[in-house]
């Protein structure tokens, strides 16, 4: 198999030597990215996140923020494009380039999450899942391989991706929800139906999460994603509490509130963004309604299963009490048919849930991430405006300098302010570039989202219809088998 040069990196500890890409850049805070500080920033992190906590920066920062665990920076940082006018990380569509250069491979990757296995005992126990990747893409070392991962590993992966990509406009798929109740049951060792259902629900959610992530052309090539899929050992993600899906949602809402409170009156010169934002608001509301509706359907379906089982029992009892032989036999057959139908109802309830309910839930959560990138754009715009205002002030101050009555200090003051103005001019330019960049990326991302949405829904609906057809065909078999029994009564 032809293997082009791969830009992959193995994970390194946080103290990667910082390559100075640009001296004028106001882009990513390179220093903090490769900070040697071993202190766990999230040591005090709890589920409830205050507005001023460091987690907020994940969403509101203007650059990649320090992540919880050592992360590998996006590829373009390591391999700077030499010979271009602006060497800033985000001035050119460096990510586009990654997409285009390595576009030789068509998308062919399938990830499955399976074999949940309880590791350990008591409250320290956890579930380990087998993550199997099957692919023909040259991005990977092998074509069929597996690793063992636990839930916090998935959360860790998501937190890394979120910290790297959300603030520049990429819609990073959210990780599955944490569940204290669900996990406690599993830890305590309750081997009952509800804890089995919980594990299956989680397994399915993890699988969908990974597939969504790798479907993103940029994320697929991220070194952290590749490491997650391939590496046999993964550094433990600590303090993943704060960045669970629910935590993120809370933060987005708080960030959104914060943004609103700042009363950003953004001159939306681009109607596209205004329209899209409104559109996503509506979509959010409608999807939540639909989700509730499906949950109610699942509930009724399970109820029907219970009712059917009870009727089957009563029919069996009736058959046993019946003296008339043929009638008795028919009633017993009836009981058996109803038991089989009960199983069909259970299968259908699972289809209702795992196909539709989870699909809608996933999209509700995905839209949270979409709203997040829109908010980041606003923040980026605000930063640009702030720089502009500051520049304006400095220019005014410069003009006023002429009237200072300290001629000996005048030249020094003039030089200082000139330097500051130059710096600010740079910042303003960078701010504008960042804003244009994030706007551009969001447009692409929204377009990709809308395409994927159609594919996603169609594929789920087809699976669902297949389950519906299957159910009816089974019913036909059962009824056809029962009819002669009923006719034979007399």
């Amino acid at each position: 198999m032809k293997r082009p040069v791969c830009h992959r990196f193995n994970s390194q500890p946080a103290s990667l030597p910082a390559e100075d890409i640009s001296t004028n850049s106001n882009g990513p805070k390179q220093d903090s990215l490769f900070d040697d500080d071993p202190e766990d920033l999230f040591a005090e992190a709890t589920e409830e996140v205050s507005l001023d906590s460091p987690e907020r920066d994940v969403l509101l920062s203007d650059g990649p923020s320090p992540a919880i665990t050592p992360i590998t920076p996006p590829t373009s940082v390591i391999t700077p494009r030499i010979g271009h006018a602006h060497d800033d990380m985000f001035t050119r569509s460096s990510f586009d380039e990654i997409e285009e250069e390595e576009g030789g491979d068509s998308f062919d990757i399938h990830i499955s999450v399976s074999d949940p296995e309880k590791v350990g005992d008591g409250m320290n126990a956890y579930m380990a899942y087998k993550v199997t990747t099957k692919t023909s893409m040259s991005l990977f070392k092998c074509s069929d391989f597996s690793v063992k991962r636990r839930f916090s590993d998935f959360l860790g992966l998501h937190s890394k991706l979120a910290s790297k990509y959300l603030h520049i406009g990429y819609i990073v798929p959210p990780a599955p929800e944490k569940s204290i109740v669900g996990m406690t049951k599993v830890k305590v060792g309750k081997e009952d139906q509800s804890s089995n259902e919980f594990v299956e629900k989680r397994r399915s959610a993890l699988e969908r999460y990974l597939m969504r992530t790798v479907k993103h052309p940029i994320l697929l090539k991220d070194p952290d994603v590749l490491q997650f899929l391939e590496s046999s050992e993964l550094p433990r993600a600590v303090s993943t509490q704060a960045l669970s899906s629910a935590g993120l949602l809370r933060m987005v809402n708080k960030a959104a509130d914060a943004v609103n409170k700042m009363t950003i009156k953004m001159n939306e010169s681009d109607a596209w963004f205004e329209e899209k934002q409104q559109h996503f608001e509506n979509l959010d509301v409608q999807l939540r309604k639909l989700h509730t509706s499906v949950e109610s359907l699942v509930c009724h379906r399970k109820e029907l299963s219970v009712n059917t089982a009870q009727f089957a029992k009563s029919a069996a009892m009736l058959g046993n009490s019946e003296d008339h032989t043929a009638l008795s036999r028919a009633l017993s057959q009836l009981a058996e048919v109803e038991e089989k139908i009960d199983q069909l109802h259970q299968d259908q309830a699972n289809a209702d849930f795992y196909l539709f309910s989870e699909l809608l839930g996933d999209y509700v959560r995905l839209i949270t991430a979409v709203k997040g990138v829109f908010d980041h754009r606003m923040k980026t715009w605000q930063k640009w405006q702030d720089s502009q205002m500051l520049l304006q002030k400095k220019r005014e101050a410069e003009a006023k300098l002429q009237f200072t009555n300290k001629p000996d200090k005048l030249q020094q003051a003039k030089d200082e302010i000139k330097e500051e103005i130059e710096e600010l001019e740079g910042k303003v330019q960078q701010g504008e570039r960042d804003f244009e960049q994030i706007s551009k990326i969001i447009r692409k991302e929204v377009s990709r989202f809308e395409k994927e949405r159609v594919k996603d829904f169609k594929s789920i609906i087809i699976k669902y219809l297949e389950s519906l057809v299957q159910t009816q065909q089974q019913l036909i078999k059962y009824w056809e088998a029962f009819l002669p029994e009923a006719k034979a009564i007399s």
């Binding site: 559109h279 979509l283 409608q286 999807l287 309604k289 639909l290 509706s293 499906v294 109610s296 359907l297 009724h300 379906r301 109820e303 029907l304 009712n307 059917t308 009870q310 009727f311 029992k313 009563s314 029919a315 009892m317 009736l318 009490s321 019946e322 003296d323 008339h324 009638l327 028919a330 009836l334 377009s447 809308e450 395409k451 949405r453 159609v454 829904f457 169609k458 609906i461 087809i462 669902y464 219809l465 297949e466 519906l468 057809v469 009816q472 065909q473 019913l475 036909i476 009824w479 056809e480 029962f482 009819l483 009923a486 006719k487 009564i489 007399s490």
Partner: protein, 369 residues
């Protein structure tokens, strides 16, 4: 207004097996049924309107035939309970599947009642039946004096007679069997009803989901938006089909096996009533025997007379009861078979139709660009 029908013997002038209850009109709590019967001679029909109270009038007349020997041994065709607006929980339980507010099953149940009365060799001779089916004017609405057939009026003390040991093995066996079957059938009918109610809930939920999907349809020329809107519209149609399917399944259940179980349950209750009446007579008979034995010579003759009368009546009842039980067994097995066969056939048809429908949807989605 018709003169009050005397309890004379008469011959029914219509085809008993072809009586139809075709419609019901609701006016508050009053229900009026349209009943059509075919004349025995010629091709004419009788069309009459009867309220629920008229049905009760008929039933009371049938109960009141004290001059017919052994009448207490008859298993009376059971009349469905009266449906009410804002029925109490107790009434709803009594009504069972007939309380769902679906008028077709209810009309069918009333129809079955009339057909069973007309088919009964003793009961059909009561003039009230002819009057009920053929008279253009509604029958008299005067309340008939209460009789022992009204279970509700029976004193609680009578209940303990239910367990009284029988002198006849045939009847003891029948009583034991009936006791078990009554309770089993009632339970089966209740569980079946629970299933139907949930099926209806699912149909409603599918309808809601189908409607809500239309809210996702987005205007605009954008190709992806249009594609998504198309998907939502088609999915809405899928859920509409699911709703239709569930609705059919529930209707099939109600109109065949649901009705069948309900009728069987009420029938078993009717047999139970008859057996209880006979047991009461047995207790009475044993009491007269004891009285006759213990009687002082002065009263002895009178007591013997009473004893003889009781014996005769009891014999009549037992004779009629045996016939009734045999007939009952045959009829109920036939009825249940018919219910089961119809049920199976209808559900099979619905399943085939639904499979077709879902397959069509599958084609549409498969072919969608």
């Amino acid at each position: 207004m018709m003169e009050e029908a005397k309890d004379e013997a008469s011959v029914l002038s219509v085809h008993g097996d072809d009586i139809k209850v075709t419609e019901v009109l609701k006016d508050g709590d009053t229900l009026t049924f349209l009943i059509i019967s075919k004349k025995l001679s010629g091709t004419g029909e009788y069309h009459v309107d009867r309220t629920y109270d008229d049905f009760e009038w008929l039933q009371q007349h049938l109960f009141a035939q004290e001059d017919v020997p052994g009448i207490q041994g008859v298993i009376f065709p059971p009349l469905p309970a009266k449906p009410q607006v804002n029925a109490s929980a107790k009434t709803m339980k009594q009504l069972g599947i007939l309380g769902l507010g679906e008028w077709q099953p209810y009309c069918k149940a009333m129809e079955t009642f009339l057909r069973q009365v007309a088919a009964h060799s003793v009961l059909c001779r009561n003039k009230a039946v002819e009057v009920f089916l053929t008279s253009s004017a509604p029958p008299g609405r005067q309340k008939i004096r209460k009789n022992i057939f009204n279970r509700l009026s029976q004193a609680v003390e009578e209940m303990r007679k239910e367990g009284h040991k029988d002198v006849d093995e045939f009847f003891q066996t029948e009583r034991d069997r009936n006791l078990v079957l009554t309770s089993c059938t009632k339970t089966a009918a209740e569980k079946f009803l629970d299933m139907v109610l949930t099926e209806q809930k699912i149909a409603v939920a599918c309808g809601h989901f189908s409607a809500a999907l239309h809210l996702l349809v987005e205007p605009g020329e954008d190709a992806d938006k249009q594609a998504f809107s198309r998907v939502c519209v088609k999915l809405s149609e899928v859920f509409e089909s699911m709703k239709k399917n569930m609705t059919s399944v529930a209707e099939n259940n109600m109109s065949t096996l649901g009705l069948g179980l309900d009728l069987e349950s009420r029938h078993q209750e009717a047999e139970k009533e008859m057996l209880f009446r006979r047991t009461c007579k047995l207790v009475e008979l044993e009491s007269t025997k004891r009285n006759a034995e213990k009687a002082k010579p002065v009263k002895k003759l009178a007591m013997e007379e009473v004893k003889k009368a009781a014996e005769t009546e009891f014999e009549h009842i037992c004779r009629v009861a045996k016939q009734e039980i045999t007939r009952f067994e045959k009829v109920r097995v036939e009825m249940l078979q018919q219910a089961l066969v119809q049920w199976c056939e209808k559900q099979l048809l619905t399943a085939k139709e639904s499979a077709d429908q879902f397959n069509k949807h599958l084609q549409v989605f498969g072919g969608m660009a």
